[in-house]
């Protein structure tokens, strides 16, 4: 269960027009996140949908405790991320925007390393790596060094690494980026299974800017635009709210309407 309430974050603007010998003027600060609200229950896939630059990645970074928010409250299973970041992280599996692997380690070593960092025993981490490789269909990759892995193979390894401690909450930042159709389908299948009671009834938060992903996978959608939550509900709710039949139209209406941007 993940709860985000009135989250806000402002970044100091990068200096503009800097020359070799003169410092440019400081620009206007960027309000990356202004007021994001999200409630993701267990056994449920929640889509965080928004156009590029809407503040999705910043929101998820604050959720993972990498950036301290200016205002608002983030809790994972009732644990406050700001005050108990490590307890919160132990209950989360985060697949961040950056998903670099260690090229000189094998896929298995990459996964087991994270298991160890999560405080697991070697045997448990090894067993878990096997099980995840089975689930993500990446058994043949396990003993290979990750140098030269394809995008899909990297993605699977990074996902297995994030899930190694069997977290109750799974946070994925644009996981389908750079994946082909088959890999995307496989990922979708894995996520659906993780949502079921057999898969552990995980709380899954999934950020994307692709509407089809949301339509096919998500139980509910949180639509973010210009750093604010502009709409919440199931796909059907959002269609009804905008009076559209096509989800893309509904998305554009909600995310880019002058009303939605200023609300």
């Amino acid at each position: 269960m993940i709860q985000i309430e009135h989250l806000a974050k402002q970044f100091a603007a990068p200096r503009t027009g800097r020359g070799l010998f003169k410092r440019g003027q400081a620009g206007v600060p960027v309000q990356a996140v202004a007021d994001v609200n999200l409630r993701a229950p267990d056994g449920h896939i929640t889509g965080l949908l928004g156009p590029n630059g809407a503040g999705k990645t910043t929101t998820l970074r604050m959720l993972a405790g990498l950036i301290a928010p200016d205002a608002g409250h983030v809790a994972v299973d009732g644990i406050d991320v700001a005050t108990q970041p490590r307890d919160a992280l132990a209950r989360m599996g985060v697949l961040s925007d950056a998903r670099g692997l260690y090229p000189r380690l094998t896929a298995r070593e990459n996964i087991v390393y994270y298991g160890r960092l999560q405080g697991m025993a070697v045997d448990a981490a090894q067993a878990r790596a096997e099980a995840l490789a089975q689930m993500l269909d990446m058994k043949p990759l396990l003993e290979r060094r990750t140098e030269g892995f394809s995008q899909g193979e990297r993605m699977k390894t990074a996902l297995a690494r994030a899930l190694v401690h069997d977290p109750a909450n799974i946070v994925l930042d644009e996981p389908t980026n750079g994946l082909d159709v088959l890999a995307t389908r496989a990922l979708r299948e894995s996520l659906r299974w993780l949502r079921t009671p057999a898969g552990g009834a995980k709380c899954i938060v999934f950020s994307t800017h692709i509407m089809q992903e949301v339509e096919r996978l998500c139980d509910s959608v949180v639509l973010v635009s210009h750093g604010r939550t502009v709409a919440t509900g199931t796909v059907a709710d959002l269609l009804a709210q905008t009076g559209q039949t096509d989800f893309e139209e509904a998305f554009v209406a909600l995310a880019f309407s002058p009303d939605g941007a200023t609300r």
Binding site: L66, R86, A90, G119, A158
Partner: protein, 394 residues
């Protein structure tokens, strides 16, 4: 206490991973080993070959003379000093310039004997090239030889007139050299500490950059920080691994001089350069804290950089500092000031030079550089830990 134990256990996990990672970077390690660790012994061998060549020249007792036929009396003197006289080859000036001729040439003018008889002090030239080290070394020897000839002539002339030769030497000069054999050797082996320190620096450089800027460039730092770890744990593990690599290089390069001296070509140098296990161990006492401090410093510089390449550029400043500071000791010609001990890199150079000279240490001389290294390492680790989170998301 329990939290500390857990932290140390996790730091150990990070350490093991980083060490594995660094040791698998075979090509880089091999380059460092070949270029840095072998460098010292190779230089030692090169120096020994130079010294051996100088020695063999001196032992040969040869004088190269242009215009032998003009100076029978001089040749007679040379031969009485058991020197062999060789005729200078044609075009000896060019040969001296391009260093194919290793001996200075004595040029005797045509009317040498006649001028000598008339007491006109004929001019005898000693031709050498100051860019040709070997001919220059021989020039001093030939000069002394010619001075001997002059003195002999004077003595004979004076004796013929019934004057005692002592009149010419109202003062007797004798040289007494206080330097021990080892101290003299450091004139030649003085650059060895420098090579060892460079080896340690270059050894630590890659690992330090890879665990910081490299991690940022790969995009693996952000997911790493999504693990429930305290930052000092992460940084301690990483620093430990980098320092270990640096220390490994320190051990290898310190001990590489042991086999290096077996192949010394010059007996004199071999006798002077006394580098045994004791010296190697003292080198380590000096170098291990240095490796730890430099690792932390390099990591602190690199964590601010987004890419490996950028970090390499920034690290150049550290490398430059570490290569220039020891030169203060080289140029001050052995008179160290107390503040040297407070300057990293310089202090290590001073201490290692003392080891090579066979001199003892005071507790202060060991303690001050050690304290500086500890402070530097702590500051570096603290800075990396502080910067880590903001570095991950920028």
């Amino acid at each position: 206490m329990k939290r500390l134990m857990k932290g140390l256990k996790l730091a150990w996990t990070v350490y093991r991973k980083e060490i594995t990672d660094a040791l698998r970077d075979r090509r880089t390690l091999l380059t460092v080993l070949v270029s840095s660790v072998l460098m010292g012994p190779l230089v030692l061998v090169a120096i020994s070959m130079l010294v051996a060549s100088l020695e063999s020249r001196a032992e040969l007792r040869e004088v190269v003379v242009d215009g032998i036929e003009n100076a029978p009396s001089l040749i007679n003197f040379f031969e009485r000093q058991t020197y062999t006289v060789k005729t200078a080859p044609a075009g000896y000036e060019a040969q001296l310039r391009n260093a194919t001729l290793a001996d200075p040439v004595v040029v005797v003018p045509k009317d040498f004997e006649a001028a000598l008889l008339r007491g006109e002090a004929p001019i005898v030239e000693i031709v050498s090239d100051s860019a040709n080290q070997r001919s220059l070394a021989g020039a001093g020897r030939v000069q002394r030889l010619l001075a001997g000839f002059s003195r002999e002539r004077v003595m004979i002339t004076l004796a013929l007139r019934g004057v005692a030769g002592d009149v010419l030497e109202p003062v007797q000069v004798e040289e007494r050299d206080l330097a021990s054999t080892q101290t003299r050797a450091t004139q030649i082996t003085g650059m060895l500490p420098y090579f060892v320190m460079m080896a340690v620096l270059y050894g630590a450089l890659n690992a330090a950059l890879d665990t910081t800027a490299g991690e940022r460039e790969r995009g693996s730092l952000e997911p790493l920080l999504a693990n429930p770890l305290e930052r000092w744990v992460l940084v301690a593990g990483k620093w430990g691994a980098v320092a270990t690599v640096g220390m490994l290089i320190a051990v290898l390069s310190s001990f590489s001089f042991l086999p290096g001296q077996w192949v010394l070509r010059s007996d004199t140098l071999a006798a002077m350069f006394q580098y045994g296990s004791r010296e190697a161990l003292w080198f380590l006492v000096v170098l291990l804290p240095f490796a730890a401090a430099v690792s932390a410093l390099l990591m602190a510089v690199a964590i601010r950089c987004k890419t490996f390449k950028e970090a390499q550029a920034s690290a150049t400043v550290v490398m430059l500092g570490a290569s220039l500071l020891p030169l203060i000791n080289v140029f001050s010609l052995g008179s160290d000031s107390p503040w040297y001990l407070w300057v990293p890199a310089l202090a290590q150079n001073v201490l290692m030079t003392r080891v090579l000279k066979g001199e003892d240490f005071t507790a202060m001389q060991i303690g001050v550089p050690l304290a500086v290294c500890v402070a530097l390492a702590a500051a570096g680790v603290w800075f990396v830990a502080r910067t880590l989170r903001s570095a991950a998301v920028r």
